[in-house]
Every structure is written in structure tokens, then in C-alpha cells.
């Protein structure tokens, strides 16, 4: 049994873009945001200029429920750099609104992970002043 934790850092602050600034502002306030198309109501992530379902440029920011399921996951035992402590568990979360978020699952044993597991998003401030969304099993 090996427990998964949030990374203690250091984690380099993400280089944000014009499209993504509202997303990271939301994270800093403990709010998971995505874009919603006003023309066809399709949810969009990563932050974009146009809707991936209909091409309209009528995207508005919305708050997510922060609940979803594990769509896929991996458990990393060889870290990308020595800054990351293993194991960690990158996962794709399908949020209840129907969009996909890449994050890590934390606060559980590695053996507890499975595709379809219910999760909720929680936020962790890293040592470097970045607030990241992580997933926890519900």
C-alpha cells in the first residue's frame, strides 16, 4: 500500500495565456472554471477562443460542480524531474458537466484507483504560490 499525496513542491508556476487567465484566477479562489458555449451549450476545456462542437465564439466562463469520475489514470514511479516525489497519479477526470481535466489523484492508496471511480476536485496551494486543482476519491 502506497499513499498518494499532493506534491510538496517546488512546482514552477504555470505560464498562463490570454485564454487561461480566468481559469487560474478561479483556482486561486478555490473555484474550478470551464467555458460554456452560448450557442450550443457545449463545455470547453482547455481554454479556447471558439467552441469545439460548433465553432461559435460565444464562450462564457462557468463554475464546475467539481465532481466527476476517473476516465483514465496512471501511477508514475519514475519522476519527470527530481522535483516530483513518487508515486504520483496523473489522471483524466470527466467532470459532471461533460468536460475533461488532467490532474493528479491524491489522498488515497494507489490500489484504490480505478476507471469510473467518483472523485471531487479540491485545491492545494503549493509552496510557490500556485493553487492547483487535485482530485480526491469521494
Amino acid at each position: 500500500m502506497t499513499r498518494l499525496h499532493a506534491q510538496p513542491g517546488p512546482i514552477t508556476a504555470p505560464a498562463t495565456s490570454i485564454f487561461s487567465e480566468p481559469y487560474w484566477e478561479g483556482c486561486a479562489r478555490g473555484e474550478l472554471r470551464f467555458q460554456r458555449c452560448m450557442s450550443c451549450s457545449h463545455p470547453v476545456h482547455t481554454p479556447a477562443a471558439v467552441c469545439s462542437a460548433c465553432g461559435a465564439d460565444t464562450l462564457v466562463w462557468e463554475s464546475s460542480s467539481g465532481t466527476g469520475v476517473i476516465h483514465s489514470y496512471t501511477i508514475v514511479w519514475r519522476p519527470v524531474t527530481q522535483d516530483f516525489q513518487v508515486p504520483y497519479a496523473p489522471a483524466i477526470i470527466e467532470l459532471s458537466e461533460g468536460w475533461f481535466l488532467l490532474t493528479c489523484v491524491i489522498d488515497c492508496e494507489t490500489e484504490a484507483l480505478f476507471v469510473g471511480a467518483a472523485v471531487e476536485i479540491s485545491f492545494h496551494a503549493t509552496a510557490d504560490g500556485v493553487t492547483l486543482p487535485y482530485a480526491r476519491l469521494k
Partner: protein, 388 residues
């Protein structure tokens, strides 16, 4: 019917420099130029015969040999470079094109994963992502949907590594033979990928010369470009690698089967189907990607790739032998792109009948690929010993 324009193009020169974990005394420029000279010589030509270049040091080749003014492409390497060179020749922008690349000295600090595997994007870097983890997310989804097993992936890795084990020029020659158990017992990198399910890192140079069929009439054994295609689903390592990511153009095509459209284009141009393929020089960044490609290209149904690779088809002597030089797992993985061209070079060697190991007897059609689902792109080229 009018002849397909690509069918006028042949590959007449190929060369791999020595491949090694570290090539002492070389940098990327020196090993690329060595590769270039090797391919030009293999084509029976002199540098002055080259009037088109592709690759990061192509401009150097132009200047050092004073062959300018000539056509130059900034195409990414691998199959897109071969197709662009072929198109340049077919369209009359050049008559004889050199593609050359190589890397040495760029990644010798091994406590981190290789620099070309590490994304910097805001949505993936904070979560410790790298290439193996991206591809593992695709493989895990496939395991969930279709029951694909780590054993089937390990079998792929063992076959490819054993091909390299007997290849005299492979970086990992004589490192085997490997069994499925050896792969499964190697340390875990990114579940379900063990160390031996993954590509290695090394250094090396590689190069190729293409020209028109009429100019190559004196050449020993020109290999014909029969068809090709490239499929992309958007930027890799920025967006979640969701298996089901689709497109608005054709809903039946998803990121999990990326390469299907490219293979349809390639087969159509070549006038062949999967049954006509004699050797599968598939790109092997991770063992699972071989399983996925057989499904994407229609060698078997989606979800059947695990059983397909366990059926005896992919071994030496099988119906569809794979990655016969040992690929990126055993032959070489020379950098960000060097190894992508080497899949095409191996296809040429197979069709020339000159492989020093794992020669597929009587091979007439080779299918070569690049990319992978975790990177959301796959490229395909089909080569033949003659015109269709």
C-alpha cells in the same frame, strides 16, 4: 487513370551513423553531416547532385558544400519530411533531395526524463507529466474498454527488443533475449508501462536521399514511394489525452485510432490493402502503441489488438513482422526526431533485401509509421519494390 504523382519518386540512398548511448566527439551538427554524407554516397551521388535539403542542418550542408541555391524545407522530420521531399520532386521544385538529422550531446544528464519528453504547458507540467505518462493514459483507457492486458504489451516489447538483440548495429545488441516475464518484472515507470515497455534514449544520425524514378534508372535497387498520409488531432502534451477525442469532420475517427485516415490515404494511393503488407515497420515509443496501430490501420478490429499481437503474427516469420531492427526500444532513439526517420530507413532496407538481421524474405511492400496516440498524431508511408 492518371499515375499518382508520388509514384514518380524513389528512395535511392539511406544511412544510419553509429548509434550509441553517448557518441563521444560528436555534436548534433557533426553527426547529422556524417549521416548526410553516408546517404549521398549510398545513393551513388556527390553532394553537388543534391538540389533540395530537409533537416535542422540542411542549411549547413548547402553552405559547406556550396550547392546553393537549392530548395530547402523546414518540415518536421520523419515521415512528413519524406512526403514533403517526395512532393517537391513530384512538383519539380527539386530533382534530388537529402533529408538528414542527428543528435548528440543534447541529453546526457539522466536524472530527469529526456528534455523532449517534458512538456512545459500550464495544464500538464504542474502534474509531473511526461511522454510515458501521456501514453499510459491512452493505454489504461484501452485496458478498461477492451480488457487489454499488460502481458500482451510485454509480448510486443519482447519481440521488438529481441529484434534489436540480434541486430549488429543496435545500441542494445546482445542485451537479450527477453521474455514477457522480463518485461513485466522490470521496474514500473508509468503504470501500465514498465521500463522495458518504453523507448530508450541514445544518440545518432540518420539520412536519406530521394529522387525521381527516371533519374534513378541506374541505381541498384530504388525503393518506390507508393503512398502516405499524416493525421493530427491537435497539440500534444497540452490537452488531456482522451481516447475518445473526436473531430467534427468525421465522427468515426477519434484520437484513440489516430492514423486510420492516414492509412486509408496511403493504402488508396498505393492501390493496396492490409493483406498486401509484408513488413510493419511501426513506430514503437511504447509497447501499447503497436497494439493500437494494428487496430487503427484495420489489421484487426478496435479492441482486438491485444489478441492480434499474441497470435504469432508479429514475430520474425509471422505474417506481419514488426519493427525489425529493434526500433526505439533497442536499435536507437537518437533524440526528438532522429528515430522517426529510421523507421522509413528500415523499410527501405527490408525492400532492398539488405538487412543484416531479421530480413523478411521477399518483402515487396513495407508500411512505416511515426507518432502515437499520446502525442495525438500518427504518420504513415507505404513503400514498394516497384510501382503499383
Amino acid at each position: 487513370m492518371q499515375q499518382h504523382p508520388l509514384h514518380d519518386v524513389v528512395i535511392t540512398g539511406v544511412h544510419n551513423t553509429r548509434q550509441a548511448k553517448v557518441l563521444e566527439g560528436h555534436d548534433s551538427r557533426s553527426i547529422s553531416l556524417e549521416a548526410a554524407h553516408g546517404a549521398v554516397a549510398d545513393a551513388g551521388l556527390n553532394p553537388i547532385d543534391i538540389d533540395g535539403v530537409v533537416g535542422p542542418f540542411g542549411n549547413d550542408f548547402i553552405y559547406q558544400h556550396r550547392i546553393g541555391p537549392v530548395w530547402r524545407s523546414l518540415s518536421p522530420l520523419g515521415i512528413p519530411a519524406v512526403l514533403e521531399a517526395a512532393m517537391a520532386i513530384a512538383c519539380g521544385l527539386a530533382t534530388t533531395v537529402l533529408i538528414a538529422t542527428g543528435e548528440a550531446g543534447s541529453h546526457r544528464q539522466r536524472s530527469s526524463t529526456a528534455p523532449w519528453t517534458r512538456p512545459t504547458n500550464e495544464f500538464v507540467a504542474p502534474f509531473g507529466m511526461f511522454t510515458a505518462a501521456e501514453f499510459a493514459l491512452m493505454a489504461r483507457r484501452h485496458m478498461h474498454l477492451y480488457g487489454t492486458t499488460p502481458e500482451s504489451m510485454a509480448h510486443v516489447a519482447a519481440v521488438i527488443r529481441n529484434n534489436g538483440h540480434v541486430h549488429p548495429d543496435a545500441v542494445f545488441r546482445d542485451r537479450g533475449p527477453f521474455t514477457v516475464a522480463d518485461v513485466l518484472e522490470s521496474r514500473m515507470v508509468a503504470d501500465p508501462f514498465h521500463l522495458l515497455d518504453c523507448a530508450m534514449t541514445s544518440e545518432g544520425g540518420t539520412a536519406m536521399v530521394l529522387t525521381s524514378a527516371d533519374r534513378a534508372s541506374g541505381s541498384a535497387k530504388p525503393v518506390h514511394v507508393l503512398g502516405g498520409g499524416t493525421d493530427h488531432f491537435g497539440p500534444a502534451y497540452q490537452n488531456p489525452p482522451v481516447w475518445e477525442t473526436g473531430g467534427r469532420r468525421r465522427p468515426d475517427l477519434i484520437a484513440g485510432t489516430v492514423g486510420r485516415r492516414a492509412s486509408e490515404l496511403a493504402f488508396s494511393a498505393a492501390g493496396i490493402s492490409v493483406e498486401d503488407v509484408d513488413v510493419c515497420e511501426f513506430y514503437d515509443p511504447f509497447s501499447f502503441e503497436i497494439i493500437r496501430q494494428f487496430e487503427a490501420f484495420g489489421f484487426c478490429g478496435v479492441g482486438e489488438g491485444g489478441d492480434f499481437v499474441l497470435s504469432g503474427a508479429i514475430e520474425p516469420g509471422g505474417r506481419f513482422p514488426i519493427t525489425t531492427d529493434g526500433g526505439t526500444m533497442s536499435f536507437s532513439h537518437g533524440g526528438a526526431a532522429v528515430q522517426l526517420l529510421q523507421r522509413v530507413i528500415r523499410g527501405v532496407q527490408q525492400l532492398r533485401g539488405t538487412c543484416s538481421s531479421m530480413q523478411v524474405a521477399g518483402a515487396e511492400i513495407a508500411m512505416c509509421t511515426g507518432g502515437g496516440s499520446g502525442a495525438m498524431f500518427t504518420d504513415v508511408i507505404v513503400l514498394g519494390t516497384g510501382e503499383p
